[in-house]
């Protein structure tokens, strides 16, 4: 019989993977940002506080700039070892050194406060800037690719230092009446690969090894200002969140301190 490895606080790795699906973070009086519900177990004394906690104001001011996702994130503080995992997906840690990396919002699990988290202009993505470590999940192991390349939208996890993520459509799919009919109806054969994301320039693109997306939670919309991509239809007021955006079925979103008020109560 193969005996399983038994871990205790001495043998658990420090800031490293326990296995492909579990990551161990060591806290020595330090803090980590953590997505809610990704902690599975911990040794020692660790406190978890919501982003809105008054004592954390300074920390939030320097390292958290994504009000949309505020209610998804907590700060872990204390000393001990903490295990992180996400729905049995592969998890990995990445080190940034004075760099930047943009990642799908649902894939990011945790990061060190020495990094600053900012909402990306690309809707649904978050950008990490600075020096430090972060932990991200992916469906299957992550593959690193060099641009120029075109990737399938479902396989994209994120990208680092890339200046130009953009859409790419196959020409035959777009041109002429026949092409239009084909794309609408699927008659005459659709390969499902007529649309890609294109990356050019220097940098790295991170792909997961499957096209099954990790399910994502609706996290609200960006303020409806002129010139902000992904914001609701123009003209429904300056600065205020528009009504009925993002498929929430016409429920008006109430303004709130960090994200909207409904979000805070899980609505």
């Amino acid at each position: 019989m193969s005996t399983p490895v038994i871990f205790d606080p001495m043998t658990l790795p420090s800031d490293d993977n326990v296995n492909a699906y579990t990551f161990c973070v060591e806290l020595k009086g330090s803090q980590w940002f953590l997505q809610k519900g990704k902690m599975i177990a911990y040794y020692g004394r660790i406190d978890f506080n919501g982003i809105g906690h008054g004592r954390l104001d300074r920390l939030v001011r320097t390292s958290f700039h994504s009000p949309l996702h505020a209610s998804d994130w907590v700060v872990a503080e204390g000393s001990g070892k903490m295990l992180l995992a996400d729905r049995a997906f592969d998890v990995n840690s990445y080190d940034l050194d004075e760099g930047n990396l943009t990642i799908r919002a649902g894939n990011l699990l945790a990061y060190q406060p020495s990094l600053a988290l900012k909402q990306s202009i690309v809707p649904g993505f978050l950008t990490l800037i600075g020096t430090g470590t972060f932990v991200a999940a992916s469906n299957g192991p992550v593959v690193f690719m060099e641009p120029p390349l075109r990737v399938d939208p479902q396989a994209l996890v994120g990208w680092a230092d890339c200046p130009s993520p953009c859409h790419h459509y196959d020409h035959g799919y777009l041109s002429g009446v026949l092409g239009g009919l084909r794309s609408l109806t699927g008659l005459g054969g659709v390969s499902g690969e007529e649309h890609q994301f294109e990356f050019v320039g220097a940098g790295t693109v991170l792909l997961q090894s499957t096209e099954t997306l990790m399910p994502e939670q609706f996290a609200g919309t960006v303020p409806n200002e002129p010139g902000v991509p992904g914001a609701g239809p123009a003209g429904s007021g300056h600065g205020g969140p528009g009504a009925g955006q993002g498929g929430m079925g016409g429920v008006p979103r109430l303004p709130g301190q960090l994200g909207d008020l409904q979000r805070r109560f899980g609505l």
Binding site: P4, G37, F48
Partner: protein
């Protein structure tokens, strides 16, 4: 490890005790990959989750165990506590392959101690292990598993299932462990569990810490956690 009949806990204080010798034939459990369990039988029996057999060679007979094979009393207890367990008994000569919905399988060796596991996470157990039910208190309520759990007692092997390979964590008096109720799958040894709640007025303002409920384990033993969380009542608080 103490020899047969060595009584008392051995060495590090871990509650492993050898039973008074293996006199009967014992089924050996092997993992084929991480999602298929191979059980070599030489005329002995194992209890396995109903319908989990995927293949076998040799001579094998399967019999449904009503009420988990615990007799009438066990059947009534399980019905009352909602900790239903549909098990079958496999008996014969040869190798039996078991799997369930591509769940990861973890082997557990029992040496006279007790394993607490949810009936839904139990794949297979040596025929010589006694099964029963026990009250788990508030922990069960929070992990969405009901207030009762299944116990396995005796000496032998068992196989438990998890969503993703389980991490085995040792709890000792100087290192208590806190576990998210949704990630907990099983524990063994002499452990006291208490229910920890971090619910404050902030939780009701929608600014909770996200980890409002934890099970705290103290004492001596092992805890199995899976790298995934079940949907629990407390999951979003």
């Amino acid at each position: 490890m103490g020899g047969p009949g060595a009584g008392g806990p051995t060495g590090s204080g871990v509650p492993f005790r050898r039973a008074a010798g293996y006199l009967r034939a014992v089924a050996t459990f092997r993992l084929q990959g991480s999602k298929v369990l191979a059980v070599d039988l030489t005329g002995d029996t194992v209890k396995a989750k109903n319908g989990s057999m995927v293949a076998y060679d040799g001579q094998m007979a399967f019999k449904k165990l009503s009420g988990g094979g615990e007799g009438l009393r066990g059947m009534v207890t399980r019905r009352l506590t909602g900790e239903q367990m549909t098990m079958m008994e496999a008996k014969g000569q040869g190798t039996c392959f078991l799997a369930d919905r591509a769940s990861e399988i973890n082997l557990v060796a029992l040496h006279g101690d007790t394993l607490y596991v949810e009936a839904s996470n139990l794949l297979c157990a040596d025929g010589g292990l006694r099964t029963g039910t026990s009250f788990t208190g508030l922990r069960g309520g929070a992990s969405g598993n009901g207030l009762f759990t299944t116990t396995l007692e005796g000496s032998g092997q068992a196989a438990i299932m998890s969503d993703g390979p389980a991490v085995v964590l040792r709890v000792s008096p100087q290192y208590p462990l806190s576990v998210d109720p949704g990630a907990y799958i099983a524990h063994q040894g002499r452990l006291q569990q208490s229910f920890q709640s971090g619910v404050t007025f902030r939780t009701f303002l929608g600014e909770g810490g996200g980890e409002a409920f934890q099970i705290r384990f103290e004492g001596d033993g092992l805890v199995y956690v899976q790298p995934s969380e079940r949907n629990t009542v407390a999951g979003d608080v």
